[in-house]
């Protein structure tokens, strides 16, 4: 059946070429439907409990993303006429930012004070030009003593200031909304810098993070993909010395990627930062198929076969192993579906789809192109064949040393797996070349972090927030939060109520307390609310029924475990203070923290399942239980060693790295499959000794194994220069694991085989070995027919 197809391909290469290109063109047409979603929420499935909690809280209060302008005057003092005027102007301009609903700064802070029996509520900074030195001092005094402002809008020393713009993205057109805001905001920054040469301005906040997601992915696509193509061309061109082979390989790669992304578009996928690396992975993996077919073809041609016969022979010999490695690799990628994070599921599915297409294309259009185009064989590769022979000799000679040494190193490195710590800090998703990262780091050093928890405290009854007991609880809770070492800022309605109480008592500092009756609190809040301007209302802190309030707590940038620890301390405090109110905690930071934690679980599940399924597939395909069992060790060891090395190098693990285990497992298996199948072929079909079989396996697949591994390692290493650090880490860890896998396959597997195979020749195991041989004979006969 397959032979008929191969014959057709070789006889009618032009038809095949045209048909495949046509189909690929149709498929790739869907790419126009493929849109990039730059929103951190894509990391969470709609059923994710922390996302649901957060969305519900946003519906009760107000839904918001934000932009921070961090203003850093070089003279180190925000409270000058010049700087206040500029901040006031920026505040005013910021109301023009698309979808902005609120702007908070030190200048428009609603300062309240008593004037006889009047309650005066006005902007903290009004007419800047008329301010005297005394006025400036007074403003500084007020701002630096205002809990709502310190460490949020202005630093304790008054040397930097933040303008916080709340943005409510309608979500009607997610593709254009974020860039629209970002462009406007950058324009404002440029204007600000032009008018204030003595100031630095940084942009942070959730909108800028979303922008960074799409921009760093776009930059990656523009640099990494061309770089990868270049490397592929060089590798195939130089190592296999063939122009036709290079052209044909690049064609297979391009149409594999184009068809995959096109089908993704037809199927309604959207792109995200993690899934946008799918083309690079497909590119890397597709090369292997081409390399295997090319090297067998050249081998046959060197043996004197005519080109078309050599192509046919190569397809025949490679069909089973390439199909098998495609299946196992796809299983590894499909196991990424156990990830809690949809973009990683998408990535797994896209790559799995891509490598299946690459398999089909490398069996059809690839030989068709090789048939059409001229192919010349270079004779002078005996050098590296010789090297492989030498390597095999070395390994056999040193087998007694290699087996224990490599085993010990493997175990020692694998034990370092425990040095990894779970951490999904979204600020660190980007490296220092990304402006968002620099801005957020600068903000953390100078004023406050970006880790935020929103805590909603529900009194359980309408207008219940005015109950003195409730207010006292919230106030005590806020005080306790402020005492925590990680806390930078707490925004709470109790501060506002205390301030109004002080105002109503002639600004007597000792009256900065909570009202004694429920009615008084309600009436104070009404009075204050009636005095507020557009956009600066209390609706972001109080729900419509006045039954619950929301505290917004800003922390230093915390790791996942630190944040979860804070969350647990809050729960514990609540329990210890016999809290009768329902407390909900939610925030993007918390969402990332929890997904980081659950990623470890999904890592274990996906790896176990990948391992089991892959072993079963190998056992079935090779019709050998022994084969399946032997392959377990060299397959699993590289993953453990890879994570062990990571523990020593970096040790930070999150949702992105959790998928690496199952993914690499699928790829690592390929080397084992190729090596073992050649080894057993030599032992059984050719009746060679274990030593001879090792020589045979090295001579046959050693070269293509190291070439494909080289391409894979380089391909994933290219990913590691991405400015999107999770993709970079994913690439680096995969590259390390694949390199380790090759080393283990070369230095550990052969000595292991020699050790095991010797004991196999004893009588006790004879029957098992015979059964295995019969099975593999059957398999080969079936293949030949």
């Amino acid at each position: 059946m397959m032979n008929k197809i191969f014959n057709f391909v070789i006889k009618h290469p032009i038809w095949v070429f045209v048909a495949i290109i046509g189909l690929a063109f149709l498929a790739s047409n869907g790419a126009k439907n493929l849109l990039f979603k730059s929103d951190y929420r894509v990391f969470f499935g709609p059923e994710h409990p922390q996302l649901q909690a957060y969305e519900s809280m946003q519906k009760i209060y107000s839904k918001s993303d934000n932009v921070y302008f961090l203003i850093v005057p070089k003279d180190g003092n925000v409270f000058s006429k010049e700087h206040l005027a500029s901040i006031q102007e920026l505040t005013k301009q910021s109301w023009q930012i698309p979808y902005s609903t609120r702007v908070d700064s030190i200048t428009n802070f609603q300062h309240s004070y008593a004037e006889g029996d009047d309650l005066v509520v006005e902007d903290l900074v009004t007419d800047v030009q008329s301010l005297t030195a005394a006025d400036l001092n007074r403003i500084k005094e007020i701002a630096l003593n205002e809990p709502q402002l310190v460490n949020k809008a202005v630093s304790e020393q008054g040397h930097v200031s933040v303008v916080n713009v709340t943005v409510r993205l309608p979500g009607v057109n997610p593709i254009t909304e974020v860039p629209e805001v970002a462009a406007f905001v950058r324009d404002l920054k440029a204007q600000y810098l032009a008018n204030n040469p003595g100031t630095e301005v940084y942009l942070s906040g959730m909108v800028m993070m979303n922008t960074a997601f799409s921009e760093s992915s776009m930059a990656d696509s523009a640099t990494l993909i061309p770089l990868m193509f270049l490397l592929v061309i060089i590798t195939i061109g130089v190592l296999l010395r063939t122009i036709t082979g290079t052209i044909a390989s690049v064609t297979v790669i391009i149409i594999s990627i184009a068809s995959t992304m096109g089908l993704a578009g037809w199927l309604g996928f959207y792109l995200t930062s993690p899934s946008s690396v799918a083309p690079i992975m497909i590119l890397t993996l597709a090369v292997a198929d081409c390399v295997h077919i090319l090297s067998t073809m050249f081998y046959e041609m060197r043996q004197g076969a005519e080109k078309k016969a050599a192509i046919a022979k190569s397809l025949q010999l490679n069909l089973q192993p390439i199909f098998l490695t495609t299946v196992t690799t796809a299983i590894g990628f499909l196991c990424m579906n156990f990830s809690d994070s949809p973009p990683y599921r998408d990535l797994g599915n896209l790559v799995a789809m891509g490598i299946f297409l690459a398999f089909i294309f490398s069996m059809t259009i690839f030989p068709a192109m090789l048939s059409i185009l001229p192919v010349r064989v270079s004779k002078d590769i005996s050098d590296s064949q010789n090297n492989m022979h030498k390597l095999a000799g070395f390994i056999i000679a040193k087998k007694k040393v290699l087996l224990p040494v490599v085993s010990v190193i493997t175990v020692v490195l694998a034990l370092n797996v425990t040095s990894n710590e779970v951490n999904d800090d979204y600020v660190k998703y980007f490296d220092e070349t990304v402006p968002f990262r620099t801005a957020t780091d600068t903000m953390q050093e100078n004023i406050s972090g970006m880790t935020i928890l929103e805590v909603s405290v529900d009194s359980g009854q309408s207008s219940g927030i005015y109950e003195p007991q409730y207010l006292k609880f919230v106030s005590d809770f806020s005080d306790w939060l402020r005492q925590q070492p990680e806390t930078d800022h707490v925004s709470t309605i109790t501060d506002t109520i205390k301030r109004v109480n002080r105002n109503m008592n002639g600004d007597d500092p000792s009256a900065y307390t909570l009202p004694t009756s429920r009615e008084l609190a309600a009436q104070y809040v009404l009075m204050y609310e009636l005095s507020l301007p557009y956009g600066l209302d209390l609706n972001s802190q109080i729900n419509i029924d006045k039954s619950s309030t929301r505290l917004i707590v800003t922390f230093k940038n915390l790791t996942t475990s630190e944040l979860i620890d804070v969350e647990q301390r809050i729960q514990a405090w609540s329990g210890a203070n016999s809290n009768q109110y329902r407390m909900d905690i939610a925030s993007p930071s918390l969402m990332f923290a929890h997904i980081g934690q659950s990623s470890v679980e999904s890592l274990l599940i996906s790896t176990t399942i990948a391992l089991i399924v892959i072993s079963i597939v190998l056992g079935l395909a090779m019709r050998s239980v022994r084969f399946g069992l032997i392959s377990l060790l060299p397959n699993l060891a590289p993953v453990l060693v890879g994570f062990g090395i990571w523990g020593l190098m970096d040790g930070q693990m999150g949702v992105a790295l959790a998928v690496v285990a199952s993914m690499t497992l699928g790829i690592v298996v390929d080397d084992t499959v190729h090596f073992l199948s050649k080894y057993f072929h030599a032992r059984r079909e050719r009746g060679e000794t274990p030593e001879q079989a090792i020589y045979y396996a090295f001579g046959n697949v050693g070269r293509s194994l190291w070439i494909t591994t080289f391409v894979l390692v380089v391909g994933f290493a290219v990913l590691s220069i991405s400015s999107f650090k999770t993709n970079a880490d994913m690439g680096l860890l995969t590259a390390i694991t694949l390199l380790v896998a090759l080393i283990i396959d070369f230095l550990f597997l052969p000595p292991l085989l020699l050790a095991i195979d010797k004991s196999k020749s004893s009588k006790a195991n004879q029957t098992d070995a015979q059964w295995d041989e019969q099975q593999s004979d059957l398999a080969l006969k079936r293949e030949a027919s």
Binding site: S56, K59, I60, S62, K63, W95, Q96, I97, P98, Y99, S100, T101, E115, D117, D118, L119, V120, V121, E122, R168, P170, S462, S463, Y466, M504, P515, S517, R518, E519, L520, A521, A522, Q523, Y524, L526, M527, E529, L530, S531, L532, P533, Y534, G535, L536, D537, L538, N539, I542, N543, I544, D545, K546
Partner: protein, 265 residues
Amino acid sequence: MLNLRKLTHCTLLSAVMLCAHGVLAMEGAQKGLEISKEYKSRDTGWGDSSSEIKMILRNTEGQESIRKITFNTLEQLSDGDKSLTVFVEPYDLKGTAFLSFSHPVGADDQWLYLPALKRVKRISSSNKSGPFMGSEFAYEDLSSFEVQKYTYNYLGEEEANGLQSHKIEQFPVDENSGYKRRIVWIDKEAYRIQKIEFYDRKDALLKTLTYSGYNKYIEGFWRPDNAKMVNHQSGKSTVLEFYNYQFREGLSDSDFSQSSLKRLR
């Protein structure tokens, strides 16, 4: 020479066109103003009025909250109207009274009586665009219409609530207004406001207010039973239901004074 002539020609032509445009704009402003004046004049002469209002607030999570107030107004012919809002529900605000003297230009005078404190406090703030009792109505949406508060542009005729209406653009004069502009639909039949669209300072549609259930009271003054404000940006909404309209009950300035606030119960 020819070129010069052509140039003059062109200049003249564009000048004429510019003028035409200017005239049209002026006509639009004039017509908008005239219709607004007509609206105001038709709603002049009712003296004083009172009504009970039920406010129903809803958020996107489906939660609902109810407030009740009584609302008294005293018509002022040469200034903005005086109004007195007495809170009935929620319970904590019962007896709280808000007195406001609105002015066509500049800050309103506002006082609040706090029963828990048994004192009247003056609110000194030029802000009137914040949410009223946490609802989607700003105080400025509830205060009386005065011709001087806006500049105008006539946009044409359009159907609103099934009635052929004048569509007028209004630009607030007060810089403390929360809006850049409003678009108002006034039906041609009886000059009642059918619908208002509010545009925020960046000129994005913020809210739509729709009136319904108009009834005619004494000598032909129309009042709605229902006003629904939908905030398009937050998805929240507030419905006002009006009950028990009363006119010409003989209210006077002394009922709208600081000292009158304490007497209310």
